[in-house]
């Protein structure tokens, strides 16, 4: 496997409702997880907002979508940014669910998983999620642990055995929390070991990139992820009484004024008019979406700038190597040939039964 490319195994670390067993085994959980996810990005809501039709999205997701089409992506009712309303109730539900999700998954995991993952213990926090005896029935274990868990919200569930390298910042992150880590702008959910040192370094690099911006940071140490949770009044950038940024009609503006807009927020002004406009537009979006979080959950301006930079880097299209694809197709040609072979064999009796057309794949018809 090549370094620094997305690997298929990484898709295992993606969270989605199918992490939970179907309702026949764990009623409601999969649906619950699904209903707390934004239908655009398919992740747990970040700064959830509703449109006037009642449909709910992440603030940033719907702002992006509205900028290309002024309608609700689900019901297609006309909509625009002025229709966006915060949904703090959903936000707090999602927050609780996000913090309990891994724990519940840990309870649902087959017990062998715990037994074969000694690294859990090395984190020194997982004791309570360990089923005490493999002979106990799953249901009982679940009930017991759920009850005892109610008072201990900080518990790290014992399921994140694997550590992965974050594709964005290259820091080591527990596989289970890679999404939250990415959501946090690479700020939190780092592995225990790497969290303190590496983050400090990374922060320094970023501050070099952006220099000292127009908006000063009153609290240099605010970024510590662990403290963020305790920080009830955490509002280092004074965002709680800030109004959303207005939309700008760029085509009537001189280059210089656009650059001033950027400087005003401590953003770079390189890259020409179009780049500056795109940068400012994206900044307005990120800034306003951030205000749709409840104050305690807001990102700092620093974090928003990091997001902006990340976005800009992703915009610079990187050519991928076509040769890889061609090589892959060659390599797997035999698979296709085999499929065709099997389909061919089936053709003579294609009318004989309904499963025939499923061809390559043997279909389990339970009746």
């Amino acid at each position: 496997m090549q370094p620094n490319v997305v690997s298929l195994s990484e898709s295992d670390s993606v969270q989605d409702p199918t992490d939970f067993p179907p309702s026949s085994i764990a009623p409601g959980l999969r649906d619950l997880d699904d209903s707390l996810r934004c239908p655009i990005c398919r992740e747990l809501y970040t700064a959830p907002v509703t449109l006037s039709c009642g449909h709910c999205y992440c603030s940033l997701c719907i702002r992006n979508s509205l900028s290309s089409k002024a309608e609700c992506p689900i019901c297609r009712q006309n909509a625009s940014e002025v229709h966006i309303r915060k949904n703090p109730a959903m936000e707090s539900v999602v927050k609780s669910w996000a913090s309990g999700r891994d724990f519940i998954l840990g309870l649902l995991k087959p017990q062998e998983d715990h037994r074969t993952s000694p690294s859990v213990d090395s984190q020194g926090k997982a004791s309570n999620t360990q089923p005490d005896s493999p002979s106990k029935k799953r249901k009982r274990t679940t009930d017991d642990t759920l009850t005892s868990a109610a008072g201990e919200r900080k518990l790290t569930p014992g399921i994140s055995k694997a550590q992965v390298q974050c594709p964005m910042c290259n820091q080591t992150v527990p596989e289970r929390t890679i999404n939250q880590h990415l959501d946090s702008g690479c700020q939190s959910y780092l592995s225990e070991a790497s969290s303190s040192g590496t983050r400090g370094q990374q922060k320094e690099q970023w501050s070099k990139v952006f220099g000292n911006s127009g908006i000063t940071h009153r609290n240099k140490d605010k970024g510590k992820a662990k403290e963020k949770e305790k920080e009830k009044d955490g509002d280092p950038d004074g965002l709680s009484d800030v109004d959303p940024l207005p939309k700008v009609s760029y085509n009537v503006l001189k280059d210089k004024l656009i650059q001033e807009y950027l400087t005003e927020h401590g953003l770079p002004t390189n890259g020409g008019r179009d780049a500056c406009i795109a940068r400012h537009q994206k900044w307005v979006m990120l800034f306003n979406a951030n205000l749709d979080r409840s104050p305690a959950n807001r990102q700092s301006l620093d974090q928003l700038k990091r997001e902006l930079k990340k976005w800009e880097e992703a915009q610079q299209t990187r050519k991928h190597s076509v040769t890889d694809v061609v090589a892959y197709q060659k390599e797997h040609k035999s698979e296709f040939e085999r499929l065709k072979e099997e389909a061919r064999r089936r053709i003579p009796d294609k009318t004989s039964n309904s499963a025939a057309a499923s061809g390559i794949i043997v279909i389990d018809d339970d009746e």
């Binding site: 990484e10 992506p73 050519k319 190597s321 389909a343 309904s354 499923s358 390559i360 279909i363 389990d364």
Partner: protein, 195 residues
Amino acid sequence: MSEQALGSATALRRLMTEYKQLTAQGVSAGWNVHCWYGLFAIGYPVTLTLDFALAEGPISESDFFTWEALILGPKDTPFEGGVFTAKLTFPSDYPLSPFKMKFDPPLFHPNIYPDGTVCISILHTPGDDPTMYEQASERWSPVQSVEKVILSVISMLAEPNLESGANIDCCKLYRENRAEYERIVRQSVREQLGL
């Protein structure tokens, strides 16, 4: 055509989620999921939906923005028995913009361009209707998905939409001489299978 890009982190994560969900749901819904190095084949239970199976997944590990789908010709259509390969190409702003779908080799079908590109309303953005006949409600929106598109394409194979034709000759033939159209399709399916 937007060139292939590694795309944004958002697009990548959404794709990884869809990919995972497709395969995981396949398993739990009782579908058979076969995996060869990231190429997935999903067989839907006959009792649940149409008689088809599909395979899809990223084409290579380094490029999550190009998938390959294997689609089985739906039952009771001239495409029955065929195994068709389509390439899905995702833009870096997916899911804001739809992906592109191209059969390789091309299929002879009223809604498939001679180069194999699928012309179907669910893959068109609202501002982009080459035929002017499509309902806005059927177009792409960021809440659509690979799975929904594949299902639409499969029903399109069974029931061409002559109002938004992509292959004019094929449309004409379909309208004027259905038997000949079906014969040509069947013939090409057999050729494709090497019969």
